[in-house]
């Protein structure tokens, strides 16, 4: 029946209206903002948009966009898994601090020193980062399931504890600052056999990969997470049960799926994935751990999950949008002196417009569907 097929495509396209509207309206707002900042110079404003466009055509900038999107993809998926279950895990921030810390302890004390076992080190870094993240989600999960304590309260508090814990380890047991060597508090450097390889080093000699692209092996990890999350969410009963719980906890209970078990698992898996958020920076860029790493990736991931409709593909697209806005923002600041925070403002604006537009669109879509069903039912 071809009619139904086209209808499904129609509904899919309709669901894309909200993000497109959000981005378009935000672009208009950005136009006027830049116009204001550049004191009414239309030509400057047009030039600014040209610079933004260039960001997408330059290989180096594209590399930066991907590098910035990568942790957000992981963070967005971590948040999305919890959100789909109706659990508001806003502790991904703390979970990646601890995930990174636990993996760093492995790297410093327990890793294989032989370069030929680098791949094993990568696997163990992933495992320990996930364990660390899950551990940090475990306490809120237990409190929620056993005592009904709301996860927003507990996870946000765990964020604070995570940061302080990281600070303690960096300045205390793991401290690698030797007198006068560096002012930045950091741990000891990881053994070379742990450090993530640059993609350039991997591909060099096999195919032409630009040297200045700041990407590491962790990109593969992010890709695997996206793929596995997609399969789990849409093709397995784990994802189905998470979806059930997030949609209607009562009916979930009535179908014999214990809500507590699903909440607990969703929370733990969300935390486990969150543990991996910043491995690119820790094991790729830095090669040591510090609590002074990029912060806020967890919260950005929440926004990414929101814009990406908690869908892995949507999350990837949203993360790229964020990465693009950041990178373009730096370029604008550098070339035209437009404050970088303009882009943060636009990001926030996109989220608000999109949320409003998607509520309206969802209503419209369900009305359309109802109408269609009623008319077809009447035909019989």
């Amino acid at each position: 029946m071809p009619k139904k097929k086209t209808n499904n495509i129609k509904y899919f396209l309709l669901s894309l209206v909200a993000p497109v509207v959000g981005i378009l309206i935000s672009a208009i707002l950005l136009f006027f903002l830049i116009l204001l900042i550049r004191k009414g110079s239309i030509s400057d404003t047009i030039h600014a948009f040209y610079i933004m466009g260039q960001t997408l055509t330059s290989t180096q900038d594209l590399g930066y966009i991907i590098a910035r999107a990568e942790p957000l993809v992981i963070s967005g998926i971590a948040a999305a898994i919890a959100f789909r279950a109706g659990v508001f895990n806003i502790g991904t921030e703390g979970q990646y601090y601890i995930g990174g810390l636990v993996a760093s302890i492995y790297a410093i004390y327990f890793s294989f020193k032989s370069p030929s076992l680098h791949w094993l080190n990568v696997i163990f870094v992933v495992i320990f980062a996930m364990l660390g993240g899950a551990l940090w989600a475990l306490i809120p999960a237990i409190l929620k399931v056993k005592k009904g304590v709301h996860e927003v309260i507990t996870t946000i508090m765990m964020n604070q504890i995570a940061y302080t814990t990281a600070k303690y380890f960096v300045n205390g047991p793991l401290s690698g600052v030797k007198g006068g060597e560096s002012l930045e508090p950091k741990t000891m450097n990881f053994p070379a056999a742990v450090d993530f390889h640059r993609l350039y080093d991997i591909f060099h000699g096999h195919f032409p990969f630009p040297k200045y692209i700041p990407l590491y092996e962790s990109l593969f990890i992010a890709a695997i997470i996206v793929f596995v999350a997609y399969i789990i969410i849409f093709y397995t009963n784990w994802g189905f049960e998470i979806e059930m719980l997030g949609t209607n906890p009562n009916a979930t209970k009535y179908s014999g799926v214990p809500p507590k078990v699903v909440v607990f698992n969703a929370m733990l898996w969300s935390g486990a994935i969150a543990g991996l958020i910043n491995i690119q920076e820790i094991f790729g860029i830095k090669g040591y751990y510090t609590h002074h790493m990029t912060s806020g990736l967890g919260f950005d991931g929440i926004a990414v999950a929101l814009i990406g409709y908690n869908n892995p593909i949507g999350v990837v697209l949203a993360a790229f949008l964020f990465g693009f806005l950041r990178t373009a923002g730096y370029n604008l600041q550098f070339e035209l002196g437009i404050p970088n925070s303009t882009m943060d403002l636009i990001t926030g604006f996109i989220i608000i417009v999109m949320v409003i537009a998607s509520v309206a669109m969802n209503r419209y879509i369900s009305k359309l569907r109802r109408k269609e069903v009623l008319s077809e039912a009447g035909d019989r």
Binding site: K4, T247, R369, E372, L374, E376
Partner: protein
């Protein structure tokens, strides 16, 4: 006796996207009459009343209200406007604030003065109560009042706001037969005082008992208005559905087989700690038998089901299915032992509205090998196939199994849920209010399906607030009162009367024995 026309709705039309909810409706109301408005769900009754109450605005048409002895066109922007014109609505779901007293609830929003003068208010309410016969304690938290009393508070609220026209939206849905009789007395008294009442109901015998005129709606149109003298139940039913309906579905003759469900001395705690919602209840159901549980809602029926279905661990007692102990087992285990359940509140417990019919068709069984490889990887084509079978077998009106559940009408949603639960392998069917909120057509269909179950030698536990339904379907009826089954009535040849059940629903012995034919019921147990 009914006087002049005080309300006229002319050519009222209201369109919703894709639906013509009200199609050029003409409706009027005389002073001092009860005008019943009947029709299936979705016929447009509530839309019409919401227009009258100012909640919706008509696309076309005019409302006239008698002001100073003359009919004048009015436009209601909101319910406050309607109230000002003397229109009051008693909603099916009460709009009471728990934690506030009766008097506070009545005057809420219409306080006599900025600093509330309770004495004046009380005097006024007392006067209304004396005139109408609606007596309720004024200084207690409304939460402690019975459902019938809460409804009186709702009516008092409307009268306090000086309503002359009362809209009663399915007022008897929550009442026992005795409470219904009292409500009818009150309605008659209000009539005598010159109030006019629009009475919305599904229950035809009630309409016949109380209405002066009857209007029937079908598919957004008002098909007929007639005085009671011209109406019969059959005629109304026919007008409602457009073709004659067999309200009396023939009951199949099945000899009961082995005992399927046995409940022994079951005790279940309510949400309040220490209070037993189900108190030492014992009964059994055999194969091919329908066991009905009657009772005013909130007497432990819900908790009884939850205990059998594994949602609420019992405090004591034993539940067995075919001799196998399932006491305290989790729901998924109990479902596997052959228990299906049609939940009482479809939207809350039975379906996932945004999910497709396919996804809704496998709930609770989604981990079975037929629907998922290794219990994990979902087999979409099998699931779709399964859903299509349910749709076909149970006449669910939908273009395909790929549409979201929310797109279906209430009756079709319920048919789908009933179909799903019947389609899974089972020995025991727990049907809670299986026809709540569905139209007569779907109702009859569901009755036939439950009888089909009976023929298939399933054991059926039927909990319903609809007495007619219980009497029509059940072989035996257990009446629950305050957590106990205080009476079991034999209904194998449909000999139980609603009055009899109603008597026990209110506690039986607690009442004075005045009705001699109750003895018949006691004998048969």
């Amino acid at each position: 006796m009914p006087g002049d026309i005080i309300l006229k709705m002319e050519n009222i039309t209201k369109r919703f996207p894709g639906v013509l909810a009200n199609d050029h409706i003409n409706f009027d109301l005389r002073e001092g009459e009860v005008h019943a408005l009947v029709g299936e769900n979705g016929a447009g009754k509530s839309t019409l009343m919401k227009i009258l109450y100012g909640l919706y605005h008509p696309d076309e048409g005019t409302i006239y209200i008698k002001v100073d002895g003359e009919l004048k066109p009015v436009k209601f922007k909101n319910p406050q406007d309607a109230i000002k014109h003397g229109i009051g609505m008693v909603h099916q779901h009460f709009m009471l604030v728990y934690g506030l007293t009766t008097i506070e609830n009545i005057i809420l929003g219409y306080e006599p003065s900025a600093v509330i003068d309770f004495d004046t208010a009380k005097k006024e309410i007392q006067k209304i109560m004396d005139e109408s016969g609606l007596h309720v304690p004024l200084d207690v938290d409304v939460e402690v009042l019975s459902v019938g009393q809460q409804q009186r508070v709702e009516i008092l609220k409307v009268l306090y706001r000086k309503a002359k026209i009362l809209i009663l939206d399915e007022p008897t849905a929550v009442l026992t037969p005795q409470e219904t009789d009292e409500l009818f007395n009150i309605i008659n008294r209000l009539k005598e005082q010159g109030h006019s009442i629009i009475f919305i109901s599904h229950k035809l015998h009630e309409v016949m008992a109380i209405a002066d005129r009857i209007s029937v709606m079908r598919k957004g149109r008002l098909v007929h208005t007639m005085p009671k003298s011209e109406a019969t139940k059959e005629k109304i039913a026919e007008l409602m559905v457009g073709h004659p309906v067999l309200l009396d579905v023939p009951r199949p003759n099945v000899t009961p087989g082995e005992t399927i469900l046995e409940v022994e001395n079951l005790t279940v705690e309510s949400d309040t700690k220490g209070v037993m919602a189900v108190d030492n209840v014992s009964f059994y159901i055999r194969a091919g038998e329908i066991y009905g549980i009657a009772g005013v809602e909130g007497n432990g029926q819900a908790e009884l089901i939850e205990a059998i279905y594994g949602l609420r661990p019992p405090k004591g007692g034993k539940i067995t299915i075919k001799g196998e102990d399932i006491t305290g087992k989790p729901t998924h285990v109990i479902r596997k032992k052959g228990v299906s359940h049609i939940p009482g509140d479809r939207h809350k417990f039975g379906v996932f509205l945004p999910f497709t019919l396919a996804d809704n068709s496998i709930l609770g069984h989604h981990r079975e090998e037929n629907f998922a490889k290794y219990g994990i990887f979902r087999k979409f084509s099998n699931i779709a196939q399964w859903a299509r079978e349910i749709i076909k077998k149970f006449d669910v009106r939908t273009p395909s199994e790929k549409v979201p559940m929310s797109a279906l009408s209430g009756g079709n949603q319920q048919k789908f849920v009933v179909g799903r639960e019947i389609s899974f392998e089972h020995e025991l069917m727990i049907a809670a209010h299986p026809t709540r909120g569905v139209d007569i057509g779907a109702m009859e269909f569901i009755y036939r399906q439950l009888f089909e179950e009976k023929k298939q030698k399933k054991a059926i536990l039927l909990v319903s607030a609809d007495l007619d339904e219980l009497l029509l379907l059940s072989d035996r009826i257990g009446v629950m009162f305050k957590g106990k089954i205080i009476k079991e009535l034999d209904n194998t040849s449909r000999q139980v009367t609603p009055k009899e059940v109603g008597y026990y629903m209110l506690g039986g012995d607690v009442e004075i024995h005045e009705d001699s034919d109750i003895a018949g019921g006691e004998q048969s147990a």
